[in-house]
Amino acid sequence: MERTISFRLNGTPTSVRVDDQRMLLWVLRSDLGLTGTKFGCGEALCGACTVIVGKEAVRSCVTPVGAVEGKRVLTIEGIGANGLHAVQQAFLDHHAFQCGYCTSGMIVSAYALLLATPHPTREQIVRHMEDNLCRCGAHGRIVEAIQEAAVAKKGGAL
């Protein structure tokens, strides 16, 4: 059903008039022009499209835009808005990427993990990140970057 959906996108009140069954990924990338969130599989199998709704990491390729009505949505563009976040800095320092295509989803997923679990164990990191795919094989560096970001945040607010 076409209707106006209002939500906070990266802190900014945003309204779009769209079919509320359309997936958030395409509304972000196409209607709103935020291309940092990537398409990888379309079926919640790879994590490239991960964004945060409220405090949860969700796969935007299977999240109807109607479901974010009145909620806060955070994308990679919002995470980097005021200078690099600790997670981004750690990804940069560890070169925790190669082609970079999965990186937005990785950083957003890691951000959500640290929101819920400021001091994750290595096992918690692996479990949380398990369904984010990376074909270049940056996994080891991504785990190290998240560990370092957790230390850098000292458990403080993100």
């Binding site: 990679i76 190669q98 937005s104 795919l133 074909r135 270049c136």
Partner: protein, 709 residues
């Protein structure tokens, strides 16, 4: 299959300077690439474009290096900037590396075969040295001092004899246009390296961690339309009819039917796909073909005549010497997909009769030729830009989506974007070919005396083993480079990271272990006893030390193993420890230690990233990845049925370089993956006494191979 015409004379001199402006230019070639990989390279340029890379030092003091290479994630921008900073004595940050733009960069073929480092890097260094020499000559004149006395730091030349006598490169080239070809200026010796051998922040890091890196599917223009294209259910299926009436009724949808293509354009990509789903299409199904179980028999039956890729001695004499100590196995590997996280994408836009196509490809000039051919446009009316590419691994040399986007943009009169769905990506992938490798080999007194191998489907490279074997022959039929008879493969096959060699190394190194077991000798001792190749010996010994190898005959129950190999002159040896779950068949890779000899390492962290990445990527085809199909119908459609290595698979990884700063730099993107299949097969054998002959070594195959209790 006819090849598209190749774009020639990419950069005419006049046009070139129109774009490039003033400054000091050094033109050079990326190297004698023809000699290395003839069949993988397009025709050379002729006429004025006899260079295929160049650098410019501009009046703003910035240094630009233009190369037709592409940034796939392998770090080419960073590596080229490092070697230039080194030879020019300028700051790393003052260098801009421009890649993958056919209007700005000369044609140097494409980005594959681990050729950038060995072929481009040496000449970029020489170009930097040449530019520095020219600038020093100018500075000497300006400062009234002999060249020998001058010093350079951060692009500023100074005369230590005269305080205050300084001039910057930027001032020297102000308002001038100086052109040079490579002369024989020596590059810096390794002992004085400042930037080579360091690991600066990658040039692409900031854009990639902030989501600002722009890939081909991220281009946005006013009026941009997204295309969804009707695809056949199987390779070889012909479209009989398509009823597009329902799709045409979708608000904002534009249906295009043109020379066999049925597409829906819409300003929203998801709505284009939804409208396409309303098209009722009928296809004529192709005749039945092999499936993923019958394929190995099929390729052996349909393969072309075998070539001899290596032969010496006398096989009958080898048989006699072995006196029955013979091991004969046939090794299989299935089709595997490239599965880059970015699917094939392109955005095409016409302006004043010229089309620019932003395309995810490893070979922008090849795509340029394809677009020119398909649209009947001359070279100066087609520009391909391939800036950031979300992974290639050999799978993005062809880029049909670029042609599709250009055709649709011309018909629609608006910019058009094509982004493959994951299903299209699997369907149109040029897979690593299925292969069978049969080896009959014999030992006598710990020495390999016979090697008789027949390779089908994998290709030739490294087909003849580097071990010292007096009586040997390797035959090879078909392969990834094409030339296979129609119907041998039900779909396209192509280069997949270290093509030929990743399949052949699995077979050879598995078989070497089988021979070691037959001879009752520790596999490291067995290898070293049959190997004089000094660089392979060195990586084996280095990796063994790193791993802490303790000699034992396999199977020892420890779950440890090794493999070694050569790819494009780069040598590697890997040692692994695995745990095999005897009730589920699951294999856990606990640890991998690898030694790599890739000559001069320009960027140690960059090379480490390549090695770590190759090992992780390699776990997939070794343990899980396998394309399922029935005839031309590709049943593998997404990551639920095609399992890549993921975080929980991460082993403890130890990578050691056998560094040689005075040696030539070798490419490192492909070599580290070649040993992963065999090192795990050998470790599994060591753990449970079962030799796995087929990749991937899935839990089902491991269970089936386990000795019956």
């Amino acid at each position: 299959m006819s090849r598209p015409p190749i774009a020639t004379s990419e950069l005419r001199r006049r046009d070139f300077f129109g774009i490039a402006g003033a400054g000091l230019f050094v033109f050079f070639r990326s190297g004698p690439a023809e000699a290395q990989e003839p069949a993988r390279l397009p025709t050379r340029l002729s006429g004025p474009g006899d260079f295929n890379a160049y650098l410019r030092i501009g009046a703003d003091g910035r240094v630009a290096c233009m190369s037709g290479k592409v940034e796939l994630g392998q770090g080419v921008m960073t590596e080229l900037a490092q070697v230039l900073a080194e030879e020019l004595d300028v700051a790393f940050d003052s260098i801009d590396v421009v890649v993958g733009d056919t209007d700005l960069c000369p044609n140097d073929g494409g980005t594959y075969g681990s050729m950038t480092t060995p072929l481009l890097v040496p000449n970029v260094r020489r170009a930097g040295a040449e530019a520095r020499a020219v600038l020093l000559g100018m500075a000497a004149e300006k400062l009234g001092a002999p060249v020998e006395r001058l010093q350079v730091a951060n692009g500023v030349v100074s005369d230590p004899g005269k305080p205050g006598a300084t001039v910057a490169y930027a001032q020297l080239v102000q308002g001038r246009r100086i052109e040079r070809r490579l002369a024989n200026i020596p590059v810096k010796p390794a002992s004085s390296f400042q930037t080579i051998g360091k690991s600066p922040h990658r040039k692409d890091a900031l854009e990639k961690v902030t989501g600002r890196a722009v890939y081909s599917g991220d281009m946005r223009f006013p009026g941009l339309l997204h295309a969804a294209i009707l695809r056949p259910p199987a390779h070889g299926a012909k479209l009989k009819s398509a009823d597009t009436s329902a799709a045409e009724k979708v608000a904002g949808a534009q249906v295009i039917r043109d020379s066999g293509m049925v597409a829906v354009l819409h300003e929203r990509p998801d709505l284009a796909a939804q409208a396409l789903a309303l098209v009722r299409a009928e296809f004529e199904n192709p005749p039945e073909g092999p499936d993923d179980r019958t394929i190995f028999e099929h390729i052996q039956k349909t393969a072309p005549l075998a070539r001899v890729v290596g032969s010496s001695g006398d096989l009958a004499e080898g048989e006699r010497l072995a006196a029955g100590a013979i091991v004969e196995n046939t090794y299989l590997n299935s089709y595997v997909a490239h599965a880059a996280m970015e699917t094939h994408s392109a955005t095409a836009r016409f302006e004043d009769g010229k089309v620019t196509v932003w395309a995810s490809t490893q070979a922008p000039f090849q795509v340029k030729g394809a677009v020119m051919g398909a649209l009947g446009l001359p070279a100066d009316k087609v520009r391909i830009v391939s800036h950031y590419v979300g992974g290639g691994f050999g799978g993005k040399t062809e880029a049909d989506q670029g042609v599709e986007a250009a055709l649709l943009a011309r018909i629609a009169g608006k910019p058009v974007q094509v982004v493959y769905s994951r299903q299209e990506e699997f369907f149109y992938d040029h897979f690593r070919p299925a292969a069978t490798i049969a080896i009959r080999a014999g030992v006598a007194n710990g020495k390999i005396v016979l090697w008789d191998a027949r390779i089908v489907g994998a290709g030739d490279r490294e087909g003849s083993p580097f071990y010292d074997i007096p009586h040997r022959r390797t035959l090879s039929a078909g392969g990834w480079m094409g030339g296979n008879p129609a119907g041998m493969n039900p779909f396209e096959v192509g280069a997949w990271r270290a093509p030929s060699v990743n399949s052949i190394t699995f077979a050879r190194e598995s078989h070497i272990d089988a021979l070691a077991a037959r001879a009752g000798v520790d596999p490291l001792e067995f290898r070293l006893g049959n190997l004089t190749h000094p660089r392979v010996r060195r990586v084996l010994e280095t990796a063994a030390k790193q791993f802490g190898w303790k000699a034992a005959r396999a199977p020892s129950g420890r779950g440890v193993g090794m493999a070694c190999g050569i790819y494009s002159n780069a040598c590697n040896a890997a040692f692994a420890e695995v745990a095999v779950n005897r009730s589920t068949g699951a294999v856990e890779v606990k640890r991998i230690a690898m030694a790599l000899d890739v000559g001069l390492v320009v960027n140690p962290d960059g090379m480490r990233q390549q090695a770590e990445g190759a090992v992780m990527m390699g776990l997939g085809p070794a343990l899980a990845e396998e394309v399922k199909f029935r005839g031309g119908e590709v049943l593998t459609r997404n990551f639920d049925s095609y399992r890549l290595a993921r975080f929980s698979w991460l082993p403890k990884l130890e990578i050691v370089f056998v560094d040689d700063p005075e040696a030539a730099a070798l490419g490192g993107g492909e070599p580290p993956i070649i040993t992963i299949g065999a090192v795990l097969a050998n470790a599994i054998y060591d753990a449970v006494g079962a030799r796995l002959l087929q990749l991937p070594m899935t839990p089902e195959r491991v269970l089936a191979a386990l000795p019956k209790a």
